[in-house]
Structure formats: C-alpha cells, structure tokens
Chain length 305, copies 2
C-alpha cells in the first residue's frame, strides 16, 4: 500500500548524536501528512527530506519530555513566516498549551494561522482523530511521565468493481458507489439479481501503524497493537542493560522483539537508541534473533507500511 | 593566532535550508569556548563538529528572534542530562529569563547546574564580560527589535623574554613577570640598568573578532569595529534586493563589503543568507568585488581569527 508511508525524521533519543536526531516521524497517507513527536531540528530534517509542509495539519506528541517536543516552537514559527493560513492541530498532553503559548505570543506575534491544542489523557485508549479514511487512537504507555503511543488505522476500503461487469450488465453510474460498498445489483433487462461477489473484487487491505515511544515494554498494549502491519517501538537499550531500561522506563531490543512476536505484527521498526551505542546494529541483531522482520530506524529512513 | 578560532555552527537565517542551519557560532580562545547565538539544532551541530561542552561557560544572544535562540532549551536540557555542575551564564536581552524559566522548571526539574542570566541593554556599548585574557563588548545594532553585536577583544599580551638574556644577565625568576610586562632590569653584578628593549621581543599581537547580526548596515558601528582582525557581518540579501533588506532591517553583501573597507578590518565573513538564494556564491562575488578578503560562512566552517 504505497499510499501509506513512514518517514523517520529523527531516530535517536534524548541526547542527539552525530548519527541520530531527536525523535520525530512523518506519516504520509495519500494527500495528508501526520507528524508524530517533534524533537529539536525536526523542521530541518523535514526540509532535508523534501517534505511539503502544506500537507501537514495534525501533530501528535506522545509525551512532554523535551526530546519529543523541543522542535515545535521552531516549526510553528517557520510556518508563520511562510504565511501559512490553514489551521494546525496539536494533539498532546494538556500541559503543552501552557508551555507553548507564551513562546508563541512573544516569537510569533500576529501569527498567520490558528493553532488548535487538542489535549488527550494519555491514560485512556481513545480515538483522538478521525477522517474519511483513517482513525488515530491513543495507546496508554508506561513511562516516567504520562505518555501515549498512537495507532493509525486505515478504515475499511471500498471493493473494486470489475469494469467489464459495468458494461456487460449496463450498470448505471449512480449504482456504482453502492456496489463498491457491497450491494448486489438488480438488472431490469435480465430480471435477475447479480450478487456483489460477481461484480467486485475484495478491497485493498486496510493498513495500520502503531507508534510506541517512550515506554517500559509491556504486554498490556498487545490487545491494541495485535496484527498491526507495522509497529514502531522504542528499543533504547540492549538486554544486557535491562536494569537500566527498567529504572529509566525504557525497553530493550529483546523485550520488544518478544512483544512483536506475541502481538503477531507484520514488521517491527526499532529506534530511540541510547547515545551509548555507537553501533546500533547490535540492537538489530538482538531483536532479529527473535523477530526476523525487524528493521532499524535511522534519520531519513523511509518505510512502506 | 591559532588559539583564537571561530566555528560556524549555523550560517543560515530565520528559515533553515538544506544547506544552512539557524545562526550559531562558537568562539574558541585557548581553553575557553564562547557561544554566540543559539538557533535550533545548535547542539546537534556542536556534536557533529566534535566540540566539548565542558569548556562552554558563556553564551551570548544577540536578540530575541527565534532563529537566534530556539536552540537554547535543548542545549541547556542536554547539559542537565549530562550532569553538568559548572555555572553557565547567558548574556542576553532581559526578556529571555522570563521566556526560558518556565521551560526550565518543567523540562529540567532539579537541574544539575546553575544558569545565570546576565541581561544587557542592547542600546549601550558596554563591556559585558571580562577575564584575564579577553573582554566582550556589546555593539548596538539596528534591527526590528533590540539587538546587539559582540566585540571579542584579546587583552594586551606579555612581551616575550629572550631566554639567552636571562642566563647572560643572571635574571632572578621573580623579576621575569615584571620584565614581561615591560620593566627594565638592574644588574647588581654589572651595576647597570638594562633597558627592557634589550631583554624582550614584542608580544604576540592581540586579536579581535566582531559579530554583527541581525542589522541594517550602519556606519555608526565603525568606531567600534575599526581594525578588528575579523568581522562577521550578516549579508542576508544581494544588493538587487536592497529595498527588501531595508524593510526587514537586514544588510546586503555590497553594503557590508563597503563597511568592511571603511572600517579597515582584517577580513570579512558573511552569513545569515536569505533562504531565497540557492547559490550563496553570488553574495560572495558581490562582496569580494569591493572587499577581496571576504569569506563565506557555512555550517561547519572554521576560521583562524
């Protein structure tokens, strides 16, 4: 499903390294862009990877640690300088509004567009965004501060009508949307009801993407992420640093691979690497030995969901 | 004077481009680092260029437009995570403290070091920093909001004593510091006053660096920057966009080159390029045609003052 793509803007964690910027991702679904987290420099990465900001109308912030939101003020300010007029909605913990508002008042006087703060409670699993083709749900996570992951799920799609059948049965155009939705067709000419299964092919499967960062690795999220096509999960540490992972409310590559296996996800992308690892392939090797369809996030990486 | 070096962290202006990050520079003088402005991503650039943050104790912010200070909170937060204990002083317009303090309270709870805000009035020409080898003065500039440049000036250095003369005249160690400062020496043995000029060579020349950004190009600063060894001056526009430069309180490459010539500076570095120019060599060509010793700033550039 090439219309559903993930761009990694920053694959690192709190302390940026030469290789990895602070966390930020861009999810592209047809004509829309969704940003997930916005670490410092996210706007620079956006530009490097050539993304058009006019398609970005919703930003989702998992939690209010600086590495997940320090890039917001710069991005919002640039959009203002560029004369954006469309509303921009930021979905986050409620505290963000009070933190950002004084900065916006000072640095973006007379801002050219409206910023809508849509707070959510990270403890709940709720649909926080919906449009005609997608829902976004929160995934309650277990971090030092209130944190939620996000589940992006395409809605069921329409069946594919078979062009030759339209001609053969002389199906009027007005009937086509109904047939795509699964209706049968009554042919006046033949005096016959044609079952939908003879007129259509199954729809393109709907895809789903789950983003889980930052968090202790927890089976409690399995009911929410089960069978997603793609799971991004933080793997800050190697399992040899498990006690450090626990004390800082992070996960190890081994834990995350076991979780991916239990949840039967299509593929696993790991990231949010601790700055201590010069070679993150160690994390990949650890995860792949358990869950072979594991991939490494890196700044600029691009995945088809 | 290789001990006095300039590292360009970001050579761009308000809107970062693929090539140029927001403004930030690092001045290295012997064992000390001084940061000038701190646009978004300055800490990432620091890391890319391998600078050690433990030597950084003073940050100078020219003015409170976002592109000159959005990188502060990320940098301060990282220093906290790294367990810094030494004080860090930020020299800026007085408003910065009120803007940063709520962010520091939220994102850097129980911060490991002390941040000292040292406000200055950008309208004045004052010494705002001094140590045994350096002074830093503000240079009042003409921008949309209160803005100051900074003049870094090495203090006069000691004369070089000639080793052979110490032996020949049997100069006691306690006399050496005085002779380096210019004193003559009275030789008891010879009953003779040896003039300083026979004992020493002139000191290594003291160097100076002036940073002027953002500003209308103005001759009013000439008395302050006259004969500096190195002048960094913003050249946001080509002279063909002079009216745009004036209306936005910025300078053109041609104006800046004329200023450098009038002020008889040693060399000129230009930067803070408008994002409209894909090829900034046009700016260089314009300046060099007037002032040949002009150089382009770029992210990662490194100059000996």
């Amino acid at each position: 499903m090439e219309n559903f793509q993930l761009h990694i803007l920053g694959a690192g964690s709190a302390i940026p390294t030469k290789q990895f910027s602070q966390p930020s991702q861009l999810l592209s679904l047809r004509d829309k862009l969704f940003m997930i987290d916005c670490g410092e420099g996210a706007q620079n990465q956006l530009r490097r990877f050539g993304a058009s900001l006019s398609r970005l109308n919703h930003i989702f912030i998992s939690h209010l640690h600086g590495d997940h939101c320090f890039g917001l003020i710069g991005l919002l300010s640039t959009l203002d300088m560029q004369g954006r007029t469309a509303d921009l909605t930021i979905h986050s913990h409620e505290d963000l509004k009070a933190l950002l508002s004084p900065l916006l008042s000072y640095f973006c006087k007379g801002i050219s567009y409206r910023i809508k703060f849509e707070p959510f409670n990270p403890k709940d699993n709720l649909v926080i965004y919906e449009d005609k083709s997608l829902t976004v749900e929160t995934i309650p996570l277990k971090h030092k501060i209130p944190t939620a992951g996000f589940l992006f799920r395409e809605k069921d799609k329409l069946r594919h009508i078979i062009r030759e059948k339209i001609d053969f049965y002389k199906i009027p155009i007005r009937e086509i949307p109904l047939i795509k939705q699964g209706a049968d067709f009554y042919s006046e000419e033949m005096g016959e009801l044609i079952p939908n299964s003879q007129l259509t092919l199954p729809p393109t499967p709907s895809k789903s993407y789950a983003y889980c960062s930052d968090t202790l690795c927890t089976d409690s999220i399995i009911p929410l992420i089960e069978r997603v096509d793609c799971l991004f999960h933080e793997a800050t540490f190697l399992n040899q640093h498990l006690s450090r992972a626990k004390s800082t409310f992070h996960s190890t590559a081994r834990q995350v691979a076991l979780l991916a296996e239990k949840a039967s996800v299509g593929k696993l992308i790991i990231g949010h690497y601790s700055a201590r690892y010069d070679d993150v392939r160690l994390l990949l090797d650890e995860a792949k030995s358990i869950f072979p369809k594991t991939y490494l996030a890196h700044d600029g990486a691009h995945f088809i969901i």
